[in-house]
Every structure is written in C-alpha cells, then in structure tokens.
C-alpha cells in the first residue's frame, strides 16, 4: 500500500519537472500546450477489467502515460464466487519515431516504450474440477518491461493505439478456497516471477485538451499551436 502511494505521489513532481524542461510558452496554462489523450484498453474492457489511461505528450516525440486498472467486482451465486478486484497503477514512457508538428498529428505513428506497473489483486473463480470456488490474492504485483506499438490517426482528435510489450512480472500470492459458500479459507502461499508478454492493448484514445483548444482557437480566429 505504501509503495503504491509513493509511486503515485512521486510521479506528480516528476511530471512537473518534465514540463519545466520542455519549451513551455510563457502565456497560458502549460497543460493546454501539450497534447493530452485519455484512453481505455478495449481488450481489458472486454475482460471486464475497468481501466483508464492518460497520456501527455511533450517535445514533439515523447510522451508519458499513467495507467490505472481498477475493476472491483464481486458476486456470489450460491457458493459460486466470482471476484475480480484489482488496483494496478503504472506508467509508460514512449518515444514516437516520426514525431509530430501539429496538434492534429500529435501522438501518432510507431513508437517504442518502457513501462512499469504495480498493484494488488484478488481473483476468484469456480472450479468444476474441484467443485468449489478458488482464488488468488496478492498485495504485491510488479511488472516492468519494454513495449512497441503503433498509434493510428482516426481523426484529428481520435487515435487507435495497438501495442505489445514483454517484461518481467512478479507476484507473491495467497491461494484460498471458498467454503460454506461464503468464507475464504487460506490454502497456501506462493510466488511467481517470470518474463513473458505482459502487456497488450488495443486502445481508443481521445486528445481531450487539444480538441478543445482547437475549437477555441477557431472561434477566436487564432492559429493552432
């Protein structure tokens, strides 16, 4: 828990530091001058893993994204327990190979990235073979690695982001069974650590501030940045 909070809070001044190192115009809020995209991985959405990411671009080739995967579902159908509870936060730094010169082309093209994320989870499913619900609970999930992808420009403000990453994933977990239809009984502790494809995504992203800025500029008759 403390590690997660530290990760989240520590990332805030880091973002500010990066913003100051970039060419920030003197007037206006600095956030309005950098493309900010909000996105969701539809692969995780299809698996009912609620997730959201925010990507901030700077310097015409770089971006930082902050990801949150936070499903919190729990159901119990007469002892058939289905739990999907995750609090996973992380980030990724990307280098866009082609770069961009206008807001309409921001965050597009092929890219390489470095990611890291951590969190906790509780996953429980019914097992026909054991005739009971069984689950895994962990307070430390960690993964870091590299990924690559391509961000396709759908419209001026919409992107389709495909990516695949490989990295190291490690977790200590507690295995449990559901007995008497509702109680989680400890079974055993375990851990795993391995290198595998740990990240894959098909994301739809929206350049949220840039579309507003462009709309405002058109109304005022100003040129785009």
């Amino acid at each position: 828990m403390g590690l997660l909070l530290t990760m989240v809070i520590a990332s805030m001044p880091l973002l500010g530091l990066l913003a100051q190192t970039s060419s920030v115009p003197e007037s206006g809020r600095w956030l309005d001058k950098f493309p900010v995209a909000v996105k969701s991985n539809v692969l995780l959405d299809a698996a009912t893993l609620a997730n959201v990411s925010a990507e901030v671009g700077f310097g015409n080739r770089w971006s930082l994204s902050f990801d949150a995967v936070t499903p919190w579902w729990d159901s119990n159908d007469n002892g058939k327990v289905r739990t999907t509870q995750m609090l996973v936060f992380g980030g990724e730094g990307r280098w866009y190979m082609r770069g961009w010169n206008s807001c309409q082309e921001a965050l597009t093209g092929p890219y390489l990235g470095v990611y890291a994320y951590g969190g906790r989870y509780d996953i429980c499913r019914w097992s026909d073979g054991h005739n009971k619900s069984r689950g895994y609970q962990s307070d430390n999930l960690f993964s870091a690695g590299i990924d690559a992808g391509w961000s396709f420009r759908l419209t001026d403000w919409w992107r389709l982001d495909l990516n695949l990453g490989i990295g190291y994933i490690q977790s200590d977990y507690r295995h449990y069974d559901i007995i008497y239809k509702e109680y989680r009984m400890k079974h055993y502790n375990g851990s795993f650590g391995t290198v595998l494809p740990a990240r894959a995504g098909i994301s739809i992203s929206w350049l949220i501030n840039q579309s507003w800025q462009h709309r405002n500029n058109k109304q005022k008759g100003d040129a785009a940045w």
Binding site: V8, L31, N78, T83, D122, Y180, R184, M185
Partner: protein
C-alpha cells in the same frame, strides 16, 4: 512554481480513494468455525445416494424452515447444483424440512412444480393443449402409430423424476452444530407396459387409447400421490397382427405414471428407504381404445382394469419391500395370448371369455402376408 491543475488533483484523489479499498479477509478453518458459532448458524451436509435410480447431471434441493422464529426468513432456501453426490450449506440454526429431486423445475416441460411449503410441495402433470393432441398417422408395415406433437408414452416418461425428502433435519439446540445425513432419491414415475390381445387385428391400421383415473401428480414432501386424477393418452402403440384369425394379435405400449391416486409412501428417516402403502378405494381405471379399420370404420372398446392395475401396483410394492430393489415397470395384460376363438362365432360386446378383443373382419386395405408388392405392370393408355 508548477501549478498543479484541478485535473491532477482529481487524479490524485481518485488514486487515494482506490488504494483504500480492501480485499475480503482470509481465515483459517478454525476461525471460520468460530464465526459460524458466534452467528448462530448451522452447517448442513447432505450425501445423496442415487443407487436406486438414474444418476442425474444436476439436482435441486429445497430447504423449508420449520420453526417460525420472527427474526428468521420462512421462505425456503433453494439450491440448484451440478454436484449431485454431496451438498453443503450454512443456514440459520433451526429445524428444516428438505425436498431433493433430479434436475430442475425448468427441465420438465410437461410438469408443473409448486413449493409453497414442505407439506404442499408437489408436481402435477400439465394439461395437454389442443395443438398437442393432433391425430393419428400410419407408419410402415408394423402399423406403428404416433400421435403428432405428443410425447411417446403419454405425458410422463418412466423413471423421469426421482425424489427424496425428510421432514426434519434439525441441527441442534447447540449453536454451530453441523448436521449431516443421507438422502436416497427414488423413482416415482412408474412405467406401465400395456399389452392387449386382439383378434382380427389385421383389419386395423391404427389405434389410439386413453387410461383414466391415474394420479395427476405427486406430493414430493409427503411422498404421496395426489388424489386428483387425470386421463392419460396412450400413444406409440406397436401392432403385431396374426394371420390365423383364431389366434390373437397384440397391441402394446408403455407409459409413465405416478400411480394410483392417494397412495402413501412412508418415509421413516433421513437415511432409510421408503415403504409403500396403498390407501382407500379409488375410482375405476378404464382403458379406452379406438381402432381405425382399413375400410375407414372405427371400433371402440372400454375395459375396466381397476383390479389388474391395483393388483400389479401392490405386487410391485410388495416386491420392493421384500427385495429392497426398486421396481421400475409393471405389466398389465388384457386377454391372454394362448386363447383361441372361433372366427365364425358371435361374442357379446366383441370380447372373449378371457377378455381379448375381437375386431370385425374387413377385406379392404393392406393384407398381412402380401408378397407381390414390387411387380410392375406396364399399361398403355390411349387418348
């Protein structure tokens, strides 16, 4: 100085709220038992023995609370499960009645279930709609007939429903006591093989029939057939004619039934089997047959089979008590296969001395033993 925007503050707030969510706690078994004891709950375990009937792929259990404590729900606990050999649950500590049967209520399209209470738990045969009745249709040389849109063997299939019940599964006065017991479902849909000896059967092309005053349902808690009766249609007859008019042919069919109305099956305890007792006199059981002759005529018969059915049901019950093995089918025969008649003699009501039926001799239509089907005659037609 970097201004932290409202957007970033909002993100930080969401993260702090998210990380404050906690998982369900894990316990050891001893801790769980203590929790159950403190809650005043009981853990019930049932072992279900399907050795006396067909083992299903799923089952249904109804737990009916018996003591009406004001702070406890009196609605029955209903469980549907694919684990048919053992079942466990934790329930408030009090006495329960239990009804267990194979599959679930939705899987019997021709039966209607009701579980308002343990004593009133029952299953009843749905009435057949007009569309389902249809009419007869002739199949092939064995003169087998099937009523369109209708389940063969009537509305019940033999051995389709197995049930067990217990009137009291009291856990204990001690809180947290774990109770267990065995339920041994028995088949309550008996198969009845009806065989009728008919003379002159080669005159018939099809037959339909009904059996009257069979029990329309079954009380699953009290293990008693309902006093309500119904007439059951008999379809899927097989006809076997005899070339010799002096000897009978036979028509046969099989149907499923809950049995005679108002028949009790005593259930003595959670782990012992059932014994059967027959109750008061019932209405007469009649077999009504309609033969469709090859010349287009129809002939109807009605036979009172009360004695035959009653005797066969009692024999089946006695056999079950003696051997301990369940009886799945009984045989009812009208007439005898060894009886001979004089084809030229007159018999009152067209029924022989031993109860066989006599059909009038007709010459049109299909004849048994015709051998020249397949020869073609080329006839030239001039216009």
């Amino acid at each position: 100085m970097v201004k932290i925007s409202r957007c970033l503050l909002c993100m930080l707030f969401c993260c702090i709220v998210a990380v404050s969510c906690d998982f369900d706690q894990l316990y050891t078994r001893e801790e769980i038992e203590n929790i159950i004891a403190e809650k005043g709950s009981a853990h019930l375990t049932f072992y279900i023995d399907w050795s006396e009937t067909e083992r299903p792929t799923g089952m249904t259990l109804y737990l009916f609370p018996k003591t009406g404590k004001p702070d406890l729900d009196t609605v029955p606990y209903v469980y549907h499960t694919n684990a048919v050999d053992e079942f466990s649950t934790t329930v408030p500590d009090q006495d329960y009645s239990v009804v267990c049967f194979n599959q679930s209520e939705e899987e019997f399209s021709n039966l209607k279930f009701s579980f308002s209470s343990f004593e009133d738990s029952q299953v009843i045969i749905k009435e057949e709609s007009e569309e389902e009745k249809g009419d007869t249709k002739l199949y092939g040389s064995n003169m087998k007939t099937t009523t369109r849109g209708f389940n063969a063997s009537g509305t019940l299939r033999p051995s389709m429903l197995s049930c067990a019940s217990n009137g009291s599964v009291k856990s204990s006065e001690t809180r947290g006591f774990n109770a267990s017991g065995t339920l041994r479902p028995k088949n309550f849909v008996l198969g009845v093989n009806v065989k009728v000896n008919v003379f002159g059967l080669k005159s018939a092309r099809a037959v339909t029939g009904t059996i009257t005053n069979m029990s329309a349902g079954f009380k699953m808690g009290l293990l008693t057939t309902l006093p309500t009766t119904c007439d059951m249609r008999l379809a899927d007859w097989s006809l076997q004619a005899n070339e010799n008019d002096s000897l009978p042919g036979t028509i046969e069919t099989t149907f499923g039934t809950f049995g005679l109305p108002n028949t009790r099956y005593d259930n003595l305890s959670l782990s012992r089997g059932d014994t059967a007792q027959s109750d008061t006199a019932q209405q007469s059981i009649a077999l009504n047959l309609t033969f469709y002759l090859v010349n287009g005529d129809t002939v109807q018969f009605s036979r009172d089979l009360t004695e035959e059915f009653t005797e066969q049901f009692h024999e089946a019950q006695k056999k079950e008590e003696e051997t301990g093995d369940p009886v799945a089918n009984i045989d009812v025969e009208v007439g005898t296969s060894t009886e001979k008649v004089d084809p030229n003699a007159e018999y009152p009501d067209n029924v022989t001395e031993q109860g066989g039926l006599i059909l009038p001799h007709v010459v049109n239509g299909l004849q048994v033993g015709v051998s020249d089907w397949g020869e073609t005659n080329n006839i030239e037609i001039r216009f």
